[in-house]
């Protein structure tokens, strides 16, 4: 893509380059200036320095000398930043340096036009890049909170905030103690184990029942299909607090029956209750994903299998299942993450011995805020990245299997 040029690119006049770079420089200068006392001085100095640097770079250090100009600018900025602001200054100046060494040439040489249609007016070009900037900001909004949690989980202090030492990149200020706490503390370990017991079993139940029902729903003649679908999807739609209170009363009756009449011990009954409750919550996700896979399923394949003498069970396991498997697995992952991440229902239905990881985090967040939560959060983020990648791969596989072009 990089070599592809839609528009002829030429060097811009200095009357364009210098003001643009000056404006950018003034923003950077303002940021540095306010941090050091005076925003106004920083603003003016930033504008002046940036304009001068742009002039020097484009006039003298361009064409064959561009590499030298880029690295030179970067090195000078980083050196100044490190001398002035220590470790933090180093980081800030690396960011600024990396940005300006690219930005000056990008503007000055008119390269920003490369991928744009030649007939665009300057206003449209400006809008194009403003729009990209807005989108970038929204992505920052989406991702930053998740990334911020990670470094903070290595905090050596018991705070939820960045300490002075962390900002100076002092190795002393970082530690693994919150991870140690998570792996050694009984409360956390027990809740983690509970989550690992409850989520997989609930997933198996919702996947088994959900897949069967989805296959049933995809048949051509199902009386009341819409109404059935509405009922099966409803656990996703009904506010969790309402589901939780409804289940609370229902499962306390069931619990009494299982304990009193049948005589199962209390802990097992507790697990059964939570597992069944979570299985219901996972069902809509299984139904949705499996139904989506079945939409592209070629019905004549089952008829062909039957024609060749396969019974319904063989047809299902040998023909239909392999084809819809990606959908089933990603539905299962959705159901798993739903159960693994569920607080409200388990708070109402479960008792202390079924305390799950999210429950423990919830009480932690409400009562004593400990950075162990952040260590757990980091582990969970890594886990969700893995799950997400799995689902993405499965989706592509499913599209390949069904002969669709990979989107």
């Amino acid at each position: 893509m990089a070599t592809f040029k839609l528009t002829h690119v030429e060097r811009k006049p200095m009357s364009f380059t210098m003001p643009v770079i000056a404006v950018t420089g003034s923003i950077a200068g303002f940021l540095v200036g306010t941090a050091n006392g005076s925003g106004l001085i920083g603003f003016l100095a930033g504008a002046a320095i940036a304009a001068a640097v742009a002039f020097v770079c484009i006039s003298f250090l361009s064409d064959g000398m561009e590499k030298l100009g880029r690295w030179g600018l970067f090195a000078v900025l980083v050196a100044i930043g490190t001398v002035m602001g220590g470790a933090l200054g180093f980081v800030v100046s690396v960011l600024f340096g990396a940005f300006f060494q690219w930005f000056i040439y990008w503007i000055g040489e008119g390269r920003y036009r490369t991928k744009l249609a030649p007939y665009l007016t300057p206003g449209q070009v400006l809008w194009h890049f403003s729009f990209k900037f807005i989108c970038g900001s929204i992505f920052v909004f989406l991702i930053t909170p998740i990334l911020v949690v990670m470094p903070l989980s290595f905090n050596a202090e018991d705070f939820f905030t960045f300490t002075e030492g962390m900002l100076r990149f002092d190795p002393e200020a970082y530690s693994l103690k919150h991870y140690r706490d998570f792996f050694t503390n009984n409360e956390w370990q027990r809740s983690f184990k509970n989550s690992l017991i409850i989520a997989p079993i609930a997933t198996v139940i919702s996947v088994t029942l959900g897949t069967l029902a989805a296959i049933g729903l995809s048949q051509s003649h199902v009386p009341g299909r819409r109404a059935i679908m509405a009922v099966l999807i409803s656990p996703m739609i009904v506010p969790l607090i309402i589901s939780a209170t409804g289940m609370f009363f229902f499962y306390s009756d069931i619990g009494r029956f299982l304990e009193g009449t049948i005589g199962i011990d209390k802990t097992t009954v507790g697990y059964i209750k939570v597992i069944l409750a979570h299985a219901v919550l996972g069902i809509p996700f299984v139904i949705i994903t499996v139904t989506a896979t079945l939409v592209g399923f070629d019905r004549s394949l089952t008829r062909a299998a039957a024609n060749m003498g396969a019974g319904p069970v063989t047809t299902f396991f040998r023909v239909q299942m392999p084809l819809i498997l990606p959908g089933v697995i990603s539905g299962g992952l959705f159901a798993f993450i739903t159960s693994f991440d569920e607080v409200v229902v388990v708070l109402f239905v479960g008792s202390a011995s079924q305390k799950t990881l999210p429950w423990q985090m919830f009480t932690g967040l409400r009562e004593q805020i400990s950075p162990t939560i952040l260590a757990v959060a980091t582990i969970l983020v890594v886990m969700s990245i893995l799950l997400l990648l799995t689902v993405e791969l499965l989706r592509r596989r499913s599209e390949r299997l069904r002969g669709m072009s990979p989107a």
């Binding site: 909170p145 998740i146 949690v149 009922v231 506010p239 607090i241 991440d341 607080v343 409200v344």
Partner: protein, 433 residues
């Protein structure tokens, strides 16, 4: 079919007189109907286990829970004689009930105290009139010592035990709430109360629930609105990039979607608290003074920001799936016909994306209006939703009737939206990544 063959006598094939037959000799119509019936039965048999499971363990329990909002057996069951005796008494007269009522009440109470039911009754009536709980608890201990056969008359004695029994108000509350099916909880849920004179509004200082409903509504709208504003550009850019980049960006959107809710909520605490990332950066940039840090958490702002972040993927995904299908040449055609950028977008592209916006908005609004966890953690007192109030009444104040009434109203709102969603988008069109 059979008629068609009969009306074609010129054909050389032998004319079939009866109905058309299937291979096994049964009439074709019947055979087809049977096979269709079998298909239906097979499909239903596949669906049945799950449907039964969901109905039994989800739909019916919720229905039962909601029924608690009108159920009010406790007064009539605990004080059957009193309720009967109070039938003829008119609270509006301003006079105390007569001796028979007091006698009936003492009889009922002696039995209730023996069964330890009187405190529950006191708690129930306390929701309507503060002080009833302690009145029943304290009086219960002394009524136990009364001998029903010898100690008549009871009126004086009861008023001696607690002067509240000489208050018309007390009897009026018992009478008003003695019906077996009450609208009292629903009236409470909209800041009114059931009185002998009909429904009346609560005193000013107890009117909090309608405000809470309105706040839930406004905040859910604010969240939906900010999701539209933030989601639209993102959906557009994902739909209009080459597939490789678009997929990468889609993964960035899905990452928050797959990350634990509690992780995201705690991340927003880290970001927004007084010593949090946002405040630290603003202080470092001297935008705000160190002693004037912004309060962004445990109030409405925290809830709206955190929930916008949490629900944003639910807006982006439906928008994206709609925008993906819009042919980019429409925009070019509009422009070539002389439309400005804005006109081309507003008159051509935007109307085509309205279904996506509608689908996303309803979904986000439905999810937002019933949210519990995030407002509970980052909402403080001013950023909570009606769900938090329901949870409070279920687990702390134990006023299940009121909780059920609030839940019914919330559920009704959600189901109306769900129905609208089904009509407009169709529930089988929900996409998850």
């Amino acid at each position: 079919m059979a008629d068609a063959t009969q009306s074609a006598p010129m054909q050389s094939a032998p004319v079939q007189t009866g109905p058309m037959l299937a291979a096994d000799g049964t009439p074709l119509k019947q055979s087809l109907a049977r096979s269709l019936r079998n298909q239906k039965i097979r499909a239903l048999a596949l669906i049945a286990p799950l449907l039964l499971f969901v109905l039994l363990s989800f739909v019916i329990p919720i229905g039962q829970m909601l029924f608690k909002s009108v159920e009010n057996d406790i007064v009539a069951d605990t004080l059957p004689l009193t309720v009967a005796a109070l039938q003829d008494w008119d609270a509006a007269s301003g006079e105390l009930p007569d001796e028979p009522v007091y006698e009936a009440f003492v009889t009922d109470m002696i039995e209730a105290v023996a069964a330890k039911q009187h405190t529950r009754l006191g708690t129930r009536l306390n929701y309507e009139e503060t002080g009833m709980s302690s009145l029943f608890r304290k009086s219960g201990r002394q009524i136990r010592r009364i001998d029903i056969a010898e100690d008549a008359p009871f009126k004086e004695k009861l008023i001696d035990i607690n002067e509240d029994w000489g208050d018309v108000e007390t009897w009026s509350v018992i009478k008003t709430h003695s019906v077996r099916m009450t609208n009292g909880y629903f009236l409470n849920a909209v800041d009114m109360k059931r009185t002998p004179e009909g429904a009346q509004s609560q005193p000013e200082d107890r009117q909090i629930l309608v405000k809470l409903f309105i706040r839930t509504l406004i905040m859910s709208l604010a969240i939906t609105g900010s999701c539209i504003l933030l989601g639209y550009p993102i959906a557009w850019i994902i739909a209009n990039q080459p597939a490789r980049i678009g997929n990468l960006l889609l993964i960035l959107v899905l990452l928050p979607f797959w990350t634990s809710l509690l992780v995201r909520t705690s991340a927003w605490i880290v970001m927004l608290q007084q010593q949090g990332v946002v405040n630290e950066i603003l202080v470092w940039l001297n935008v705000i003074a160190d002693d004037a840090r912004l309060v962004m958490i445990r109030n409405e702002v925290g809830t709206i920001v955190a929930m916008t972040h949490i629900l944003l993927p639910f807006m982006i995904l439906p928008m994206y799936s709609v925008m993906q299908t819009i042919n980019p040449s429409y925009l070019r055609a509009a422009k070539s016909l002389g439309a400005t950028n804005f006109t081309a977008f507003w008159r051509v592209y935007f109307p085509l994306t309205v279904p996506g916006i509608g689908a996303g908005s309803i979904l986000v609004f439905i999810l937002a209006i019933g949210y519990y966890i995030t407002p509970e953690i980052v909402g403080g007192t001013s950023g909570i939703f009606i769900s938090n109030r329901i949870a409070f009444h279920i687990s702390s104040s134990l006023n299940w009737g009121l909780a059920a009434a609030l839940a019914s109203i919330l559920l009704a709102a959600v189901l109306i939206l769900y129905w609208a969603y089904d009509k407009i988008v169709g529930i089988d069109n929900v996409k998850l990544g």
